[in-house]
């Protein structure tokens, strides 16, 4: 069956199809009122009656950010209904006398309490007041609650109260969807657990309805042949629609996760291919070096960057809007700068770019939709770095107005005091330098945070604008290698296509690690917890008889007194030796990440057990080899050229310098081709700028490897 990755973004719905070693790409405008419409239309256009689909969606994200989710109620232990409202007591901004929070997901009056209490050993000190639930059901009914989160203190130690309350309420209100904190996130820290459970409850009805509608529409479109549908979770693993509908909090960062999965998969495949082409001796040396990847996804309003030091990193400490989400998500750093960021001359004498963005509407000046202030995209256009004819393949609804962009940048140049014939170009160069400085900071930050030097990384640009800026960023960061995937504009959809079918589960352990492992430890509690989590994960992944699942375990450990943990791999099967191995790995990780360890000096605590399961037996999708066999580059006619403006050097530093640059159509490139800058490489939905002094070579998967000619 063909495999399809479908990424629904704010503007476009992207399709990548892999069928019998052939790759196809399709792009449609997103249908915001019902995202499934564009999906079904795309499958029809692609002529695919049945396929294995992995879908990244923004239904949950949008519902949260736009506060359009269900009317959600919260039931807590008596005395603690305000835990959600108080949060961690910190205010959003340090220096502002007036501050606002986004509207609460649970309105006042929908935060309910019931008498019950469990202590820190898991013992019941106040039994659940079951008689009170009748009245609570009545309150929920009269308040027209559409979804309910149940969060009791210490339910990760004693889930029975939550389960019992849920069972009784189900009888009274059979239609009301319930999210239990002991199922969504059985970990300590009541605020984070509450917020995560409430997020789940808030988006659950909407996501469930959407998935039901999508499945129905796809079945109808397929003419009775069933599609296999899976949804990409924020942790980079795909999951079936039934599980996705139960735990939609796991989907909120689905789209960006696809980009990182796709970028890392492309880099891995290219590295493996390069390795197999090496001599045995060179291979040994090369394989010792991990594949460190920095992903750089520059879009219209924001830019996502992620560091992947040999593997994709996840974190359980993300936030969405102003709420903590304690479920594993791919560790991505976002800065509010992109192609739509507005350039302006401030009163103090500096040229600024952002934080205001023209967004998609009105968009940059060149979109001709009423935008008046020049943006990064306008600067790229004025410098000849965007081909108006090829923008979005020339078939988007956007006609670029170069004159308008030039007028806006000329006005900015006048304000900056520039004179002469190339005021607009000079201003545009300045805008790009400033925009790149913001990106450079973000990339440095994610590297330094993990203790990595960006110079040891391969930079992977994607998104509409990433490939335009990547060479100047590589220059600034001292990154030696850039790898541009074959289709940077739809890399997230590729990530969805290649994603493993996998999910994870966790549970608080909270006891000294020495009690669980080593010479005197008894690992029984850990073994039991691991079995329970493996069972839960397997139940979510296995769809038919014969499906097999492989497990990875991790143990979050910390030194006593710390309030943050590191996840150490826990070998399977879990036994005393496995725990000892995890403890040893923790000391090493601590040293690597933080620069020191306290082995033998401080007690180690086991905080959380994590289990990730992956469905076996699914062939890993790979980029097909690009078609060869056309005429070699030397015999092809020379590409057309156009004028692109760069920054002059030497005495002309800072002055715009026009250079005749080759204009390559990426679709016409073939493996082995080598191109020299200055050149512009255009394709359907993305444009790559190769500055003077850079060369690009095409590998057999149609990736472009960029480097400076001198290096």
């Amino acid at each position: 069956m063909p495999r399809v990755g479908i990424d629904v973004g704010g503007t476009f719905t992207d399709f990548v199809v892999l069928e019998q070693g052939r790759l196809r790409i399709h792009k449609l405008s997103t249908t915001p009122d019902d995202q499934s419409r564009a999906i079904v239309a795309g499958m029809q256009a692609l002529g695919l009656p049945a396929a294995q689909i992995v879908h990244g969606m923004t239904v949950a994200t949008n519902a949260l950010l736009e506060r359009k989710g269900a009317r959600t109620a919260l039931l807590t232990t008596a005395g603690f209904a305000d835990v959600l409202a108080i949060g961690r007591q910190n205010r959003p901004s340090l220096y502002a006398l007036h501050q606002e929070r986004p509207p609460a997901l649970v309105a006042d009056g929908l935060r309910l309490e019931v008498s019950e209490r469990v202590d820190s050993s898991g013992a019941v000190i106040t039994p659940l007041d079951e008689a009170a639930l009748d009245g609570l059901a009545e309150s929920l009914r009269s308040a027209r609650a559409e979804s309910l989160a149940i969060v009791f203190l210490f339910s990760f130690l004693h889930p029975e109260h939550e389960a019992r309350a849920a069972a009784l309420l189900r009888e009274l209100l059979p239609e009301l969807p319930l999210s239990l904190s002991s199922e969504i996130l059985p970990e300590y820290r009541e605020y984070e657990r509450t917020a995560t459970t409430v997020i789940n409850a808030y988006v659950q009805p909407l996501v469930a309805r959407y998935l039901e509608r999508l499945e129905g529409a796809l079945a109808a479109q397929g003419g009775g042949v069933p599609h296999s549908l899976r949804i990409l979770q924020s942790n980079g693993g795909a999951i079936g629609p039934a599980q996705a509908a139960l735990h939609p909090a796991r989907l909120v960062l689905s789209g960006p996760a696809g980009g990182v999965v796709g970028a890392f998969a492309v880099a891995q495949q290219a590295a493996e291919a390069a390795m197999s082409a090496m001599s045995a001796g060179a291979r040994t040396t090369a394989s010792a070096a991990p594949l460190n990847v920095l992903t750089f996804d520059m879009g219209g309003t924001s830019t996502d960057v992620a560091l992947c030091p040999g593997a994709i990193l996840t974190t359980a400490e993300s936030t969405i809007g102003d709420l903590p989400l304690r479920l594993p998500v791919i560790d991505i750093h976002t800065v509010g700068a992109g192609g739509g960021s507005i350039a302006w001359f401030d009163g103090g004498g500096a040229l600024r770019v952002g934080p205001q963005s023209a967004g998609a509407d009105p968009g940059p000046v060149c979109y001709g939709r009423g935008g008046l202030q020049p943006t990064v995209t306008d600067a790229n256009l004025v410098l000849g770095r965007l081909d108006p004819a090829a923008f979005l393949g020339g078939r988007g609804d956007v006609q670029l107005d170069g004159d308008a962009a030039r007028r806006a940048l000329a006005a900015l140049g006048d304000a900056l005091g520039y004179r002469g014939d190339h005021v607009a170009e000079q201003a545009a160069l300045g805008v790009l330098r400033v925009a790149d400085a913001t990106m450079e900071r973000a990339l440095r930050r994610v590297s330094v945070e993990r203790g990595f030097d960006p110079r040891s990384c391969t930079l992977i640009p994607f998104g509409g604008a990433g490939p335009l800026h990547v060479c100047s960023l590589a220059n600034a960061l001292g990154v030696p290698a850039v790898l541009a995937p074959p289709f940077p504009g739809v890399l997230s959809a590729w990530g969805m296509l290649v994603a493993d079918v996998s999910t994870d589960a966790s549970r608080s352990i909270l006891r000294p690690a020495a009690e669980l492992g080593g010479p005197t430890g008894d690992p029984t509690p850990l073994i039991e917890a691991a079995q329970e989590l493996q069972g839960r994960v397997a139940a979510q992944l296995i769809e038919r008889d014969g499906d097999r699942v492989t497990f990875d375990c991790g143990l979050d450990l910390r030194y006593r007194g710390q309030s943050y943990e590191l996840t150490a791999p826990l070998p399977l099967p879990v036994d005393a030796a496995a725990v000892s191995a995890a403890i040893a790995a923790f000391h090493t990780l601590h040293e690597q990440r933080y620069g020191y360890h306290l082995e033998g000096e401080a007690e180690v605590e086991a905080v959380t057990l994590r289990v990730r399961g992956t469905l076996l037996g699914r062939a890993r999708a790979a980029l097909p080899e690009a078609a060869a066999g056309r005429a070699p580059a030397t015999t092809r006619s020379a590409p057309p050229t156009r004028t692109i403006w760069f920054e002059g050097s030497g005495p002309a530093a800072g002055q715009p310098l026009p250079l005749e640059s080759a204009l390559h159509d990426r679709a016409q490139l073939q493996p082995g081709d080598a191109l020299a800058g200055p050149a512009l490489i255009t394709q359907y939905d993305s444009t790559l700028l190769l500055p003077p002094g850079w060369i690009a070579t095409v590998d057999r998967f149609a990736n472009l490897h960029l480097q400076q000619a001198s290096s």
């Binding site: 005395g79 603690f80 305000d82 409202a85 108080i86 949060g87 961690r88 007591q89 910190n90 205010r91 340090l94 220096y95 502002a96 006398l97 007036h98 501050q99 606002e100 929070r101 202590d119 820190s120 203190l153 210490f154 300590y188 820290r189 009541e190 605020y191 984070e192 001359f345 401030d346 009163g347 103090g348 004498g349 500096a350 040229l351 600024r352 900056l416 005091g417 330098r433 400033v434 400085a437 913001t438 450079e440 900071r441 440095r444 930050r445 330094v448 945070e449 993990r450 007194g561 710390q562 309030s563 943050y564 990440r593 933080y594 620069g595 020191y596 306290l598 000096e601 401080a602 800072g654």
Partner: protein, 548 residues
């Protein structure tokens, strides 16, 4: 004498902006490194630290993760260090925590190191970092005691070289570590600060190698004037004139309540620089109480920080944080007063409580100048609660100590209601989760809720305080350092004041066995038995505008 380059070479608007990113980026990477490698939760989770770079003359060039209390204190520390250290060698690292030498309280240890350019004999830049260490000795764990002189608060470190020419002074380190409760953590945190300095030095040297010394130093100076221009322009939007405001601190002497005034006169002046209108502001604290016997004395750095904080709130964060933002702000505080304490006054509470009242009076004075930009008073306290004692673990008596602060109401503004249940102004630390607290200490939290209707009424309501109730499961000593239990957070423009806070203790009478309730002052120490309860209700914020 040659003129500094920036005087005759105009700043290029693009290069200026690039240097804003470059210098801020260096400070930011130092901060990320410090946070990553630190041990103390205060640094790692509560972000109670700052990193900065300074020019050769000690001007602040950029500061990252600048918590309000460090705004004035970082430059003050570096200034003192530069005055005391005549000669610098590459590899030197100086540490200092003396509040009377630029510190603000003892747990904040500041590190300063020189950055030498190749072939030069004097430093071209300095890197500095300040971090709140979890314990530096003294009367109580956490080093924030109810003290009466500084010597009770922990180890005092005047500016001394921890490293000389790259070699660590092991004897000095041993002396410091012997005086703190958790030496391994201190060693780790100091190492983290040094790691941050190494990153700062490397990145600055890279900048100079890429762009040349002349450009880097010229644009360092340009950025200072740029921030100063933006700040002066923002201050010029304020009306000229002079306004005075006074508020009270609640001192408890024995069982007696004394109110100590803090008074400020804010004077705004406009002036013209090269045809551009600019403003500057002077805060004169004459009329404030003399130094007290309590720990509520603030050193001058705290008073400056509070003034800088309020100005930054009112002018916005557009100007990159450097010396230029501070130049148009003048702080005059009489020596020996509660807002400019001299040795050997106790200062532990000055940083956490007095700093909040200084903020209030500065806000109150400026509110008269700009009613529409002002805010009503916020809770004005951090509600510092320390619970310590000895309990049995595996049959062995084991000491425990727990410290937390509690949020309250924020004052309302012309734009809207105040936030509820948050830390205000000079602090923004996170709470301890109840589930973490109960697992670690013999305590049970029986209620944690917003304190409804505690915000002052008004056109816009003040934020609500918090109710937090504790059940003690073992005998303990409870110490509370809180404010606004007698003098309410004021409203603004006809808004009602917020409710004062309340500290109540319910203790079982040894004879009758009945629970008896006692309402306590803002500052107290009591022995409690298992089964006793403490109920803390924190103040609400003041309202803005008349409620009608």
């Amino acid at each position: 004498m040659t003129q500094p380059l920036h005087d005759h070479v105009a700043a290029d608007p693009i290069t200026l902006e690039l240097y804003r990113h470059r210098f801020s980026g260096v400070a930011e990477e130092m901060g990320v490194t410090l946070r990553r490698t630190a041990y103390s939760p205060n640094i790692k989770e509560r972000l109670d630290f700052s990193c900065a770079i300074f020019d050769a003359a000690g001007n602040l060039l950029a500061q990252a993760a600048h918590i309000p209390a460090h705004l004035g204190a970082m430059p003050a520390s570096v200034r003192t260090v530069l005055e005391r250290m005549a000669v610098w060698a590459p590899g030197d690292v100086v540490i200092v925590n003396d509040p009377f030498a630029g510190g603000n309280h003892l747990p904040d240890i500041t590190m300063v190191s020189p950055i030498f350019l190749q072939g030069e004999r004097t430093p071209a830049f300095f890197a500095a970092s300040r971090a709140h260490h979890a314990d530096v000795g003294g009367m109580t764990p956490g080093s924030l005691p109810l003290s009466t002189e500084i010597f009770q608060e922990g180890v005092i470190i005047p500016p001394v070289r921890l490293y000389a020419g790259g070699v660590r002074n092991e004897e000095l380190l041993a002396l410091i570590l012997r005086n703190v409760r958790t030496p391994d953590e201190r060693r780790g945190d100091l190492a983290a600060q040094r790691a941050a300095h190494a990153i700062g030095e490397r990145r600055l040297l890279e900048l100079v190698a890429t762009h040349g010394r002349d450009e880097v130093t010229a644009y360092a100076a340009h950025l200072l004037s740029y921030s100063e221009r933006l700040t002066r322009a923002a201050l010029a939007q304020w009306p000229a004139g002079s306004w005075t405001f006074e508020d009270l601190l609640e001192l408890v002497d024995g069982e007696q309540l004394h109110l100590a005034p803090i008074r400020v006169t804010a004077t705004l002046r406009h002036s013209e620089h090269g045809g551009v209108l600019g403003g500057e502001v002077t805060f004169d604290f004459s009329g404030s109480s003399p130094v007290t016997q309590s720990s509520l004395n603030a050193v001058i750095a705290i008073t400056q920080s509070a003034c800088y904080y309020v100005v930054r709130c009112l002018t916005g964060e557009d100007a990159p944080m450097n010396q230029g933002c501070l130049t148009p702000i003048h702080v005059l505080a009489p020596e020996g007063s509660i807002v400019n304490a001299s040795a050997p006054a106790a200062v532990a509470g000055g940083n956490v409580e007095t700093s909040q009242r200084i903020t209030d009076v500065v806000l109150g004075a400026l509110a008269q100048a700009m009613p529409s930009a002002a805010a009503a008073a916020s809770q004005g306290t951090m509600n510092n609660l320390t619970i310590g004692g000895v309990r049995e673990i595996d049959g062995r008596p084991t000491p425990f100590a727990y410290y937390e602060t509690i949020g309250g109401g924020m004052g309302a503004t012309a734009q809207g209601d105040g936030l509820s249940g948050v830390q205000v102004h000079m602090t923004n630390t996170l709470n301890t989760p109840i589930e973490a607290l109960e697992m670690a200490y013999p305590l049970q939290v029986t209620q944690y809720a917003l304190r409804h209707a505690s915000g002052g009424d008004g056109l816009h309501r003040g934020g609500s305080g918090i109710v937090r109730s504790y059940l003690f499961l073992a005998p303990a000593t409870v110490t509370m350092l809180s404010e606004r239990r007698a003098v309410a957070p004021w409203g603004q423009q006809g808004g009602e004041p917020g409710a004062v806070g309340r500290n109540r203790l319910l203790r079982r009478d040894a004879v009758t066995g009945e629970l008896r309730e006692e309402t306590l002052y803002g500052k107290f120490t009591r022995r409690v038995a298992a089964g006793d309860r403490l109920i803390v209700e924190t103040p609400g914020g003041g309202g803005y505008g008349s409620p009608d």
